[in-house]
Amino acid sequence: MDTIIRFDEVSKSYDGGRPALDRVDLEIGSGEAVAIMGPSGSGKSTLLNLIAGLDRPTSGGVTVAGVRVDQAGETGAALFRRNRVGMIFQFFNLLDDLTVADNVALPAQLGGMRRAEARIRADELLRMLGLASHRDAYPARLSGGERQRVAIARALVNRPALLLADEPTGALDTSTGDEIGALLAGLHRSGLTLVLVTHNPELARRYASRTIELVDGRVADPSTRDLQQVVG
């Protein structure tokens, strides 16, 4: 299995305080579904942000899909995210001024795709996710589950190799969360590498083949456990 994500002695501190991540080494293979778990403040979201190039480590190297993300400038990081990564957030992070279809098409249009073409691609994804009837609606009118599906569609519009999800079901009720979880699992089975940040062990058990535990900014167990083996 090829390595798609590698952290080499990565540390991240904010304002010189206690490090959010402390000399983290890890590897994630292409096609894996990995859950990053840990208590609140353990550095889970920080780790995800570093993978996505949303932030830079204080020290160490972060390599994602062959790109040294930690060394990319702002423009390079933005292009990296646009072309290689799809991101899903706990509170969806949709733009309230744009319709559902415009939200989904946005990353494609930022990449220079023509509006008509981007809309076709957006419509395709919205149909796939059962949101075709909401294409002209505004996010404020949608339920939590619908908004998260819009966010997933947006994350997929540029056909990324890697899907990063930060607490994707954290703002949803249980059944809706299950729907989203199943959706993500389905996407993983279609070939996407999935990195999932969650504090929900059940979610991790169901949709991830491996868990990386963080405690106080460090990987809790260097030889990460294989959940399938544990669960049996």
């Binding site: 949303l54 423009t75 933005a78 992070n93 744009l98």
Partner: protein
């Protein structure tokens, strides 16, 4: 809840939101400074002569006495009934001579030990007062009483053993124009020995100095106190007042226009900035309320949070405004012909108080509104614009064939209509000021050409003996020939045909010559006018000589004349009427076929053909030759070339630029327009800063899905670029309309009408460029905060609520 908690909230609001605090302080500073400048200029254009006359203790009467009147007797006239102050007696001498090889007409020099005095307090504007013989301080301004030379120039008076050389060491203003220059008292007998005509000067102020009977009575009392024929002549302050009021009048309309624009813009921008700062803090207000702040405490906290930086901005703004106004006022003082102008104290008090009051109201209104909302409502309104606003704009602009960041940015202003409107208004006024200023400057340059004719006839070759009339400097030429005035007992000398042939041969030999025409100047009587009137006649085609027509057409045959507007006003005539001219025994009726723009000889100079003037003066000979050059030719090089051809006996010089007051206006216009454009750009800066703060989370989302820094900058700039474009398009016709309104008012204030070409200065290309002025102002104001928006840390932005 104690006052300490409120203080803590205020301190937190100020120091945690340093950017916003800084923007409020800076915008208030600039608005205060520009309002101080605008108001100072406007106020100082209101009767500056009267103010300066009082400040400089101007002389109501400048009296010249025969040299044989004893000084003690003259000094006693200070006690004549009605005299409130007197200065002198000073030695006075009337001299003529040369400077830089050029003869100057007789000038009055007075011996004074100091510039200060109980009457006619002189204001030194450059250099220093004379401290020893051999030095002279000249009067400033082109009021006609000064020589107009610069520091370091030398004046040579007399010849041989009595020759005196005076070096110009200072330039000073006498509000009454009491002399052309001043020397130390010891210099006076030396100048008399050099051939100057001596007299004594006294300066008086009276209790009742009203023009007409009261002043005449004052003078009569002086005469009565002295021997017969002691009083050689008097000059009243009224002469100087009329002249300087004429200098000042054209400034007033455009200063008023700029002043009003500047004040309105300052009000708009302060209101926009301050109210925006409070509105952007609604979320914080909601949080303060949720932890126990009462509505009154919240209002007080936010009012204080704005008041402190606003107060600081006002105080520094007053200082900055004075610093900026001082050189402008000094320039205006020279142009107005007064000693000095200053920012009135009341302006320094009223402006900051007014701006602070405005800031307070602009802060209180939204703060009061927020304090009445529930905590939840205040937090919900927070930074986010009302839901639903701007959706239609996004739907409309989204399909445009523009990069996505631009279509998103162009639609954004519709989410905050009030802020957008205020920003639009500020940019519109700024662009309008720029449009107005560009047109006004272009018009004034054409007007300057119309006065000086420098562009049409940059070179003049004049026969010696003709004097200055307050217009362009004249140059003497011809092998020592002179045409003496009629009163000259020496008699008339005419230039030889050889001299004329030599001049024309030299001119035609130069490839740069395009036109040449002989010009004669004469004095004629006009029926119905008490004084003689100057006439200029051309021998040959002369439509190129730079006289711009206001109405009618150029003369095409004999017995036709062109007249300036002043002549028509004074005589009550119109184009098409006939007038009677006479010189000696000759008389002629001529028809007025055209009205020209001309200010020489107080706007009474007639222009006609050689044949017409020859009817009145059969012995007419040229006084000068006017030369027009081919485009691209160097006038200075041409003068040198002609001088080499004609030799040292001939003087050939450049036509001078014209009255300095017009240059002063052009400079002032540029400064004021730049100031207003800067104020408008500040308003835009504030808008983009507020937008960035409100949308920081959205910016994080944009960056998270792949918007590059350059795209983010473009989006932020396009938040206001559309506003700038709209403002520019609307501002252009408004600025043109303002120009068409103000320029004729300026001319009308001095009794002039303008040729159409002075107003028709906006061509299509210029209008298109000016329409972009709004965009440029908007981009200039948006650039810094847009770049900052692009640099926001994405992860931090996503965490912002």
């Amino acid at each position: 809840m104690s006052g300490a908690a409120i203080l803590h909230a205020v301190r937190g609001g100020i120091f945690r939101r340093r950017l916003q605090t800084g923007v409020v302080a800076f915008v208030v500073l600039i608005s205060t400074a520009s309002t101080v400048v605008a108001l100072a200029l406007v106020v100082n254009s209101e009767a500056p002569f009267d103010h300066a006359f009082a400040a400089q203790r101007g002389a109501h009467i400048v009296a010249t006495f025969a040299p044989n009147v004893a000084a003690a007797r003259l000094a006693r006239t200070a006690r004549v009934t009605g005299v409130t102050a007197a200065s002198g007696p000073y030695g006075e001498v009337r001299v003529t001579g040369t400077s830089e090889g050029m003869h100057f007409e007789p000038q009055t020099l007075v011996g004074r030990a100091t510039a200060a005095g109980p009457v006619d307090d002189l204001v030194i504007q450059d250099g220093h007062w004379a401290t020893q013989p051999g030095q002279v301080v000249l009067a400033t301004g082109d009021s006609g009483s000064g020589l107009g030379f610069s520091l370091g120039s030398t004046l040579i008076i007399g010849a041989g053993s009595h020759r005196q050389t005076l070096t110009v060491v200072g330039l000073a203003n006498s509000i009454t124009g009491s002399a052309s220059g001043w020397v130390v008292p010891a210099e006076i007998p030396l100048l008399q020995a050099a051939g100057g005509t001596s007299a004594s000067q006294m300066l008086y102020r009276f209790a009742d100095a009203g023009i007409g009977a009261p002043l005449q009575a004052d003078v009569a009392r002086l005469k009565a106190a002295l021997p017969r024929d002691a009083l050689a002549g008097t000059m009243s302050y009224y002469t100087a007042k009329v002249e300087q009021d004429g200098n000042i009048a054209p400034f007033v309309p455009f200063l008023l226009a700029f002043g009003i624009l500047g004040i309105v813009m300052s009000v708009l921008i302060v209101a926009n900035v301050v109210s925006g700062a409070v509105v952007s803090g609604y979320r914080r207000i909601g949080i303060l309320k949720s932890i126990g702040f009462t509505p009154m405490q919240v209002t007080a906290a936010y009012a204080a949070q704005i008041a402190l930086p606003a107060l600081l901005g006002c105080l520094i703004g007053v200082v900055a405004g004075n610093a900026l106004a001082t050189p402008l006022l000094r320039q205006n003082a020279t142009a107005y012909g007064v000693g000095g102008l200053a920012v009135p104290i009341w302006v320094d008090i009223v402006v900051p108080v007014g701006i602070c009051a405005l800031a307070a109201v602009a802060a209180l209104l939204p703060a009061l509104r927020a304090s009445r909302l529930s905590s939840v409502q205040a937090i919900a309104i927070g930074r986010a614009p009302q839901a639903g606003r701007g959706h239609a704009a996004h739907r409309l602009l989204g399909p445009l064939p523009l990069p996505r960041p631009l279509t998103i940015g162009l639609a954004a202003p519709f989410a905050r209509p009030s802020r957008t409107f205020l920003t639009l208004a500020a940019v519109l006024l700024g662009a309008m000021a720029v449009t107005f200023a560009v047109g006004l400057s272009s018009s004034l340059k054409r007007l300057l050409d119309g006065i000086s004719h420098q562009r049409a006839e940059p070179v003049r070759i004049q026969l010696p003996g003709d004097g200055f009339d307050g217009g362009p400097q004249r140059i003497k030429v011809g092998p020592k020939h002179s045409k003496a005035p009629a009163s000259n007992p020496v008699g008339l000398q005419v230039p030889t045909a050889r001299a004329e042939r030599e001049i024309l041969a030299a001119v035609h030999a130069e490839p740069a010559t395009r036109h040449v025409v002989a010009e004669a100047d004469d004095s004629v009587s006009v029926a119905g006018m008490s004084d003689q009137t100057q006439v200029t006649a051309f021998r040959g085609a002369a439509t190129w000589t730079g006289y711009d027509l206001v109405s009618g057409h150029w003369y095409s045959g004999p017995d036709e004349v062109l007249v300036p507007t002043g002549f028509l006003k004074q005589t009550g005539r119109s184009v098409g009427d006939t007038i009677s001219l006479a010189e000696g025994r000759e008389a002629l009726r001529v028809r007025i076929v055209g009205e020209i723009f001309d200010t020489h000889n107080r706007g009474l100079n007639l222009v006609t053909s050689w044949a017409t003037l020859r009817t009145l003066d059969p012995g007419i000979v040229p006084d000068q030759f006017d030369v027009g050059l081919r485009p691209g030719s160097s006038a200075a090089a041409y003068v040198n070339a002609i001088s080499r051809r004609l030799g040292p006996d001939y003087d050939v010089e450049l036509n001078s630029r014209g009255p300095a007051v017009v240059d002063a206006m052009i400079g002032l216009i540029g400064t004021l327009a730049a100031l207003l454009a800067a104020v408008a750009a500040l308003g835009v800066l504030n808008t983009v800063v507020l937008n960035t703060r409100e949308r920081v989370h959205d910016i994080g989302i944009f960056k998270a899905v792949g918007m590059t820094p350059r795209q983010t900058t473009a989006m932020a700039i396009s938040w206001v670029a559309g506003i700038g474009l709209l403002a520019g398009i609307v501002a252009v016709p408004l600025g043109v309309a303002l120009h068409h309104e103000i320029l004729p008012a300026m001319a009308g204030s001095v009794g002039l009408r303008l040729p159409a070409k002075y107003l028709a200065v906006y061509d299509t290309t210029m209008l298109l460029v000016l329409a972009i002025a709004g965009v440029l102002i908007a981009v200039a104001g948006a650039l810094a905060p847009a770049v900052w928006a692009a640099r926001i840390n994405t992860a931090t932005a996503l965490r912002t609520e």
